[in-house]
Structure formats: C-alpha cells, structure tokens
C-alpha cells in the first residue's frame, strides 16, 4: 500500500509540467545520442551536467536518467539501418538487426526493439519499486566494516566486468583511487599531493574529471574519424509489429528483461554486458540457432530489451547503497552531490521526492520513448547524418564552457583538459576510463570506512569479517577473484606441461 502511495506521489512529481518537460528533453537527447555514433551516454550526461546546476535535484536526475535509457532506444536505430552502433550496448543489433534491414524488415526490427525496450524498462522499474526500499532499509544497518567490504567488492566487480584484462582494469582502479586521494585527508585534514597549489588543496572536481575522461578523451580518440562523414540509409518499412511477431518474441523479451534487470545491478555491468548475455541466452534456447547472424528477430528483441532493463535497474545500487555501478551512474552520482544530496540508503527516506520522482519519470519516459520511437524514426535517421566535424567542435565547446561553470574557475577547465589527455593516452594502452571514474567516486567512501574500521578494531583486520553481511560480501569478492585466477593458473599449468 505504501509502495502504491509512493509510486502515485512519484508519478505526480514526474508529471509536474517542469519535470515532464525535462523527461521529454532527456529522452529526446538520449535518443539523439544513441543515434549519433561516437558520443555515448556517459559523455553526454557529463556534458549536460552544467545545465542541471540550476535545477531541482529530482528534475536534474530525471533529465540525466532520461538521457541514459533514451540512448538505449536510440542506439538501435543506427545499428539496424546503418550497421553503425550508436552506442556500445547496441553492438549486438548490428548483426541480425541490419540483416533484417537488408531483407526489407528494418521497421519490424525497430518496432520489436522499441516494444521490447518498453517492456524491459517497465519490468526493471517494477524491480526498482519493489526491491530498492527493502535494500535501502537493510543498508541502514551497515557500519564501517560492511561499507569497506562493499566498496572492495564493488571495485573488484568493476575490474572483473570491464572491457579487457582484469589486471588493466585493476590498474585503472588504482589510478582512480590515487586521484581521489589528492587534497585533504578525510580523517586528519592534512593535505596530500597538493604541491602548494591552492586549487588542489580541496581535491580535484569529479565532474571535471568525468568530462575529461569520458568527453574529451572520446573526441580525441575519434579525432581522425571526425573528419569523415556518415552516409547511406535504408528504407524503414512497417514499424508496428504484428500479433504473430509479438507472440514469437514474447519469450525473448521476457528473458531479456530478467537478464537485463539482473546484470544492471552488477558493478561494471550495464547495457553492454546485458545485451551480450541476452544474445547468448537467445541463441542457446532457440530452436533455430542457425538463423542467428542471418536476421533472427529474437536476436534483436532480446538484447534490446536487456540493455534498456539494465540501464534502469542500475539505479538500484546508486539510489540505495550510494554505489554507482557504471560510468553513466557515476556522473549522475556527481550531479546529486553538486545538488547537495548524497546518494545512499538514507536518500529514499530523506528525499522521497527524488527517489519516487525518478521512478515515476522512468514509467513516463519509457512510454514517451515508445510513442516517439515509431513516428519520429525518419527524423532520427537524419540526425545520424550530422557531420562529425560539427559534433566534435560543438562537444569541445560545451566541455570548455561546462568545465568552467562547475565552480566558476579556469582551474577546472585545466583539470578537464588534463583528464582528457591522460584518458586518451591511457585508452591507447588499453586502460579503460570507467573504472577510473568509479574508483574516484568510491575512493573517499572506501578510505574513510577502511581507516575508521581499523581505528575501531585497534588495527585488527578481523573486523572486516565480523558480521554475516561482511562475510558474505567478502566471499563474493573472493569468488570473483578466484574465477579470474583459476583459468589463468590452469592455462599456465597446461603450458608448462606442454613444454615438458
């Protein structure tokens, strides 16, 4: 009953004229971002941060959340029509989705993806409604040891699920934690790594770091591609799926919803992992796996459902534990901090308008996306043809202005530029930016609780296994490490045996 009342209140917040306008703006920008190859949801959410400074906290999160799940819808369009994934989570659809387009079924593929995304989004929102309050209630009992172990598990999972080898992601985590240690020591107030620079004494701003690592480095990575244009488009055809289509894809949409909702909760997971796993599941359960890769509708509807469901369920750890599970949520975490709101277990009780308003906006936003997706397809296809040179110049200009507006000083512009160049160089040697940002955010939480626990226990490390919750979390972390180490040990043994 409470939940229904809260949900009604949340819908009222979402349907307030100002919020409704920002839901519409968020999902529209998200769709465009999804359509435009090269500019992912994380850089865009970072770019939009300056716009949120003057907004109410709930409106700010509603806008940024809309961009995130809107991008999941939009990414499908270019994947299907142009075989260019607008954003990473839609890579899977470039195979079967584009194959369907070549067979004159582009509209069918896009319609199924839109309906699947809508269903997946609603199911994930239901999970958010049902489980988030209980999880927040449970997390209220967490002490310093539990938070320390939770941060440790979170970082291990981020490293485990990030692209590339785990060791490189661990290096990225280390870099993020070290960057977070610049400035005042949270316990004693002593200054670290400031080198006498007054601007460094308060630490470096997370938003400037995010803008540089995600936004500027992305532009620099694609700097040569930005000179080229985008061409070609296809005939869309009938978009609304038939009853038979829906019946044939109901299973894939259902499974995609479950897979996406579950994987959205995993740190480092999100849309990309969810769509890849969903594709694998669909291929496995299909009676005609040989059709996969040649235009199987389930290979589009399942993964597209999963990536949207994941984008929504990933709000659960952020809003209940204060742990952003991926890069986009890390930016939204930063947006909430700027607004003076600390995400965590108390958010749902202290700021119910934000939590339930965001939930309500997800219902409204998904509905808007479903309605928008079908009639506005031709417009979004045209957006994909905006010259990359214009997009990259506009992005650089917004980054400069945005970085300045964080605190009204040029130092943050310098931080953004430095973070962009460092991010570019790190990406060139295979170190991903997302774990750096996530570690940067978790760093102060991790350090403060780690050191507080040690003080409480008189230096005894046994405190980190002093409660059932901490033990379970530690075991999970151990299992993750073990699952990475075992195959490596086995491979090494095989190599040695082969040599003998």
């Amino acid at each position: 009953m409470d939940i229904l009342q809260n949900l009604t209140d949340g819908l009222q917040v979402a349907l307030a004229p100002e919020n409704l306008l920002f839901v519409l703006l968020g999902v529209s920008v998200g769709m465009m971002v999804g359509v435009l190859p090269g500019l992912g949801p994380a850089p865009t959410v970072a770019l939009l941060l300056p716009i949120t400074f003057g907004l109410e906290p709930s409106t700010a999160v509603i806008l940024l959340a809309g961009v995130y799940y809107g991008a999941m819808y939009g990414g499908t369009i270019t994947s299907v029509l142009l075989r260019i994934p607008g954003e990473a989570a839609s890579v899977v659809s470039t195979v079967d989705g584009h194959e369907m387009a070549r067979q004159g079924q582009a509209g069918r593929a896009l319609g199924l993806a839109a309906i699947g995304s809508f269903v997946g989004g609603l199911i994930a929102t239901c999970c958010l409604v049902l489980f988030a309050p209980a999880l927040a209630d449970f997390a209220l009992n967490f002490g310093s040891p539990e938070y320390t172990v939770l941060a440790f598990l979170g970082l291990i999972l981020v490293a485990y699920t990030s692209a590339g080898t785990m060791i490189k992601s661990l290096v990225a985590v280390g870099i993020g934690l070290l960057l977070a240690s610049i400035g005042q020591d949270p316990m004693s107030g002593a200054t670290r790594w400031a080198f006498g620079v007054p601007d460094l004494m308060g630490g470096i701003d997370i938003v400037a770091v995010i803008m540089g690592l995600f936004g500027l480095s992305e532009i620099l990575v694609n700097i040569v591609e930005n000179r080229r244009g985008v061409s070609t488009t296809n005939h869309v055809g009938r978009v609304l799926p038939t009853g038979r289509d829906l019946k044939e894809n109901a299973g894939a949409i259902g499974r995609g919803s479950v897979v996406g909702t579950a994987l959205g909760l995993v740190p480092g997971g999100g849309g990309v992992l969810a769509s890849l796993v969903s594709y694998g599941v669909e291929r496995k359960v299909s009676r005609t796996p040989e059709k996969f890769g040649h235009g199987a509708p389930q290979a589009v509807s399942g993964p597209e459902t999963a990536n949207n469901a994941a984008s929504i369920s990933s709000f659960i750890p952020l809003l209940t534990l204060g742990f952003p599970p991926n890069g986009v949520l890390a930016v939204i975490f930063g947006a909430l901090l700027i607004q003076g709101v600390t995400p965590g277990p108390t958010l749902i009780f202290d700021h119910p308008d934000i939590f339930w308003g965001v939930v309500g906006s997800m219902v409204v936003g998904n509905l808007i996306l479903l309605v928008m997706n079908i009639p506005l397809l031709p417009i979004f296809v045209r957006i994909a043809k905006i010259p990359p040179a214009v997009m990259s110049t506009l992005t650089v200009a917004i980054l400069v202005v945005g970085a300045y507006t964080i605190n009204g000083n040029t130092f943050d512009v310098g931080v953004m530029v430095a973070a962009g160049l460092v991010g570019y160089l790190l990406r060139s040697i295979g170190i991903p930016p997302a774990p750096i940002v996530l570690a940067f955010i978790l760093g102060p939480i991790f350090e403060t609780n780690f050191r507080r626990s040690l003080v409480l226990s008189d230096g005894g490390f046994g405190i980190f296994a002093s409660s059932p919750t901490a033990i379970v979390l530690l075991m999970l972390a151990f299992l993750v490490v073990l699952s990475t180490a075992l195959p490596l040990i086995r491979r090494r043994r095989q190599t040695l045996e082969a040599k003998d």
């Binding site: 300056p50 716009i51 400074f53 003057g54 692209a163 590339g164 080898t165 060791i167 490189k168 290096v171 280390g174 870099i175 934690l177 070290l178 240690s181 020591d185 316990m187 002593a190 670290r192 790594w193 500027l216 620099l220 990575v221 700097i223 040569v224 930005n226 000179r227 990359p388 040179a389 214009v390 990259s392 110049t393 506009l394 650089v396 200009a397 917004i398 400069v400 202005v401 300045y404 507006t405 009204g408 040029t410 512009v413 310098g414 530029v417 962009g420 160049l421 160089l425 790190l426 060139s428 040697i429 295979g430 170190i431 991903p432 350090e447 050191r451 040690l454 003080v455 008189d458 230096g459």
Partner: protein
C-alpha cells in the same frame, strides 16, 4: 587508432607501444609509492596516518602495473597504437587545449569559445575556412544563448576584451 585485441595478429610495433606506455604508468606508480612513504605520515594500523591509504594503494597499483608489464599478453590487450595521423591531430589540439584556461581569463567566454570552435573546425577537423567560420559563429551564439542568457551560468569577464 589501430585497435589490437589480444587474440588478433600482434605487430612488434603494437607490443613496443604497449610496453612503453605501461613502463611510464609503472614509473609513475613507483614515484607515487616512494612519495607516499617518504613525504606523508604513514601512521600505524591502529592509528592510520594520511599516507597509510595512499601508500597501500600506490604499492598495489605498482604491483599490478609490474605484473602487466611482465606479461606481453596483458600488455597487448586493448592497445590502440596511436598512428601518425592520430598523433599529428592530437598534437595540433594540445596547444589549443592548454591555452584555453588562460584565454578564458584574458578574452572571456564568448571570444574564447569562438576561437576554440574556429581552430577546431579549421585545424583539427579540416573544414573549409568559410564553413568553419560560419560554424564557429553559430556554435558560439548557441552557447551564449543557452548558457549565459537562458541558464545564466557564471562566465568569466575577459580582462583584455571586457566582455563575457
């Protein structure tokens, strides 16, 4: 950039690029570790000082970078060697990016944005000069309208130009 997945054919140039890159990261991690232990108060596990956390994290990062550096399979994974074309383009962007903070103070937000856009269009993306000029003016106008007029975000007043 030329992406190199771990299982793809690895050129010696890719491996060398990855090794040099990782050597630099390892060196920085080593400097950070030494700095943490020598310049910050380490304290003890019962009373951890400001250097305790930094020292632990630096040492762990150094260990990870060393493991990576010694394993060619890890070094090469995900390496996107910076090609000559990429290097030239990024090198052309660096002076502009480095000059942007002082330019904001000297020229204000509007003029700096216009200059950044014009430079990016003509030098970085190699757009025709006239098109670049039109694009730069259009983008600057858009930014002024959205950020300064509508959102009224703080913007620096140029000490040389006297305008925002």
């Amino acid at each position: 950039m030329a992406t190199t997945p771990a299982d793809a054919a690895v050129t010696p140039a890719d491996l060398r690029f990855g090794r040099i890159g990782f050597a630099v990261v390892t060196l920085l991690a080593a400097v950070s570790t030494v700095g943490a232990f020598t310049t910050l108060d380490f304290g003890s596990p019962t009373e951890p000082g400001p250097g305790f956390w930094v020292g632990c994290i630096s040492a762990a990062t150094l260990a990870f970078t060393l493991v990576a550096l010694l394993n060619p399979r890890v070094v090469i994974d995900g390496v996107s060697r910076i090609t000559r074309a990429d290097g030239v383009a990024v090198a052309a962007a660096v002076p502009l990016l480095a000059l942007t903070p002082p330019l904001l103070t000297l020229l204000g937000l509007t003029v700096t944005t216009a200059l950044v856009c014009l430079y990016w269009f003509t030098v970085i993306t190699r757009t025709a000069p006239l098109r670049g000029l039109v694009g730069a003016v259009a983008i600057t106008m858009g930014i002024v309208v959205v950020f300064i007029e509508l959102l009224q975000v703080p913007s620096p007043l140029g000490t040389l130009t006297g305008i925002r």
